[in-house]
Symmetry: C2
């Protein structure tokens, strides 16, 4: 009578599902992620996923959070010697690099609210570090927000990638200043990188100016 079932350990776990979903969205895009396709990738039937997640959207949220979790936050550790400006710069670079490794996930990450644990950890670390550096709390909140705007915006859509390489694509009558625009297409990585660095430097320079007026070093 010893027929207690359950030696057969579970085929699925939240972790296995998230990993498979991230792999799929990385390689084939958001549109390729259907519950049936994802389940097939995992060797199970579609409805099985619903034992681990309530909806497909929650799977994608978990994927987004797993990307946020890859952002380095060590520069905000209290024992780290970096000043706030350097810490913010290094964080932004690490943040963007993490998103650029999973560009197809960025729309989910950028749009969904920050209810995800790893997203909250980001917000907590930058806020705490800025306050510790002497920024008033309201300003520290703004800094977390505006850095997020800039980094997700830069990771979301390539600017240069939007141009086509065809020399005849931009009629001077319509776009008088885009005569060289077709040249952007071939160097999009470089151009987006430079724009990101230019913007980040400007942002930090501007914040440094504000800091001198409002901050109270503790």
């Amino acid at each position: 009578m010893c027929r207690m079932a359950r030696p057969r350990k579970p085929l699925l776990s939240r972790d296995r599902i998230v990993t498979a979903a991230r792999t799929l969205v990385d390689s084939e895009g958001l549109a390729a992620v259907s519950t049936r396709r994802l389940a097939a990738e995992l060797g199970v039937s579609g409805p099985s996923l619903y034992n681990h997640f309530r909806t497909k959207d929650q799977i994608l949220e978990a994927v987004a959070d797993s990307v946020s979790a890859q952002v380095d936050l060590s520069m905000f550790d209290p024992q780290d010697a970096r000043d706030w400006r350097t810490a913010l710069h290094d964080w932004a670079v690490s943040y963007r690099a993490a998103l650029r490794e999973h560009p197809n996930v960025v729309p989910v990450l950028a749009q969904g609210p920050g209810r995800r644990p790893a997203g909250l950890r980001l917000a907590d670390a930058v806020f705490g570090s800025m306050v510790d550096a002497g920024w008033p709390p309201a300003q520290a909140t703004s800094i977390g927000a505006l850095m997020r705007y800039f980094v997700t915006g830069s990771a979301l859509g390539s600017f240069a990638g939007g141009f086509v390489g065809d020399e005849t694509a931009y009629d001077p009558a319509d776009y008088p200043h885009l005569g060289q625009a077709h040249l952007l297409a071939g160097r999009q990585e470089e151009i987006d990188e430079r724009a990101f660095e230019t913007g980040l430097t400007a942002l930090l320079d501007g914040l440094t100016q504000q800091y001198e007026q409002v901050a109270a070093p503790h």
Copy 2:
């Protein structure tokens, strides 16, 4: 024998479809836009849309472009007296306002490449104006890109909206600095607005510093 058909004028047009799609996405979100639903809203059957657009995605692209078209560009007119910094500021404000009126469209707008006519007109106007103001072309390109990053990022996901209003939501053990975070939920509009203005000012302050070094006033 005078039976030439076609007095019955077309029921649909690209314009009517785009307007209906924009209304639908504004009121019920991107997910509510299906070809069948959109067609029903227009009083026709689903496949009719394919006489005017090749795919549903192209309908959404056209919606995105119609939003870009609402961005004011008059501050870049050569006869406008505003200096480059003021023009850039006013443009960013108008740009963000247009996106905020159609928040559900922003993911499409931010992600899709800038092949859309109105999107190209934006890029053309800001690039031309910055070059005219004395910025080297490579820098003018960067400015167009980084402003787009910041504005679309700020319109895409509310920062403050990501927090819940529940006081017990953020365990201090997990998020030591988010003790007041639940207060953000009630004032998200104000907080996002302030973060946008703070970031924009920092960006323009920083660019002004760079301008003094690199630009050659003509």
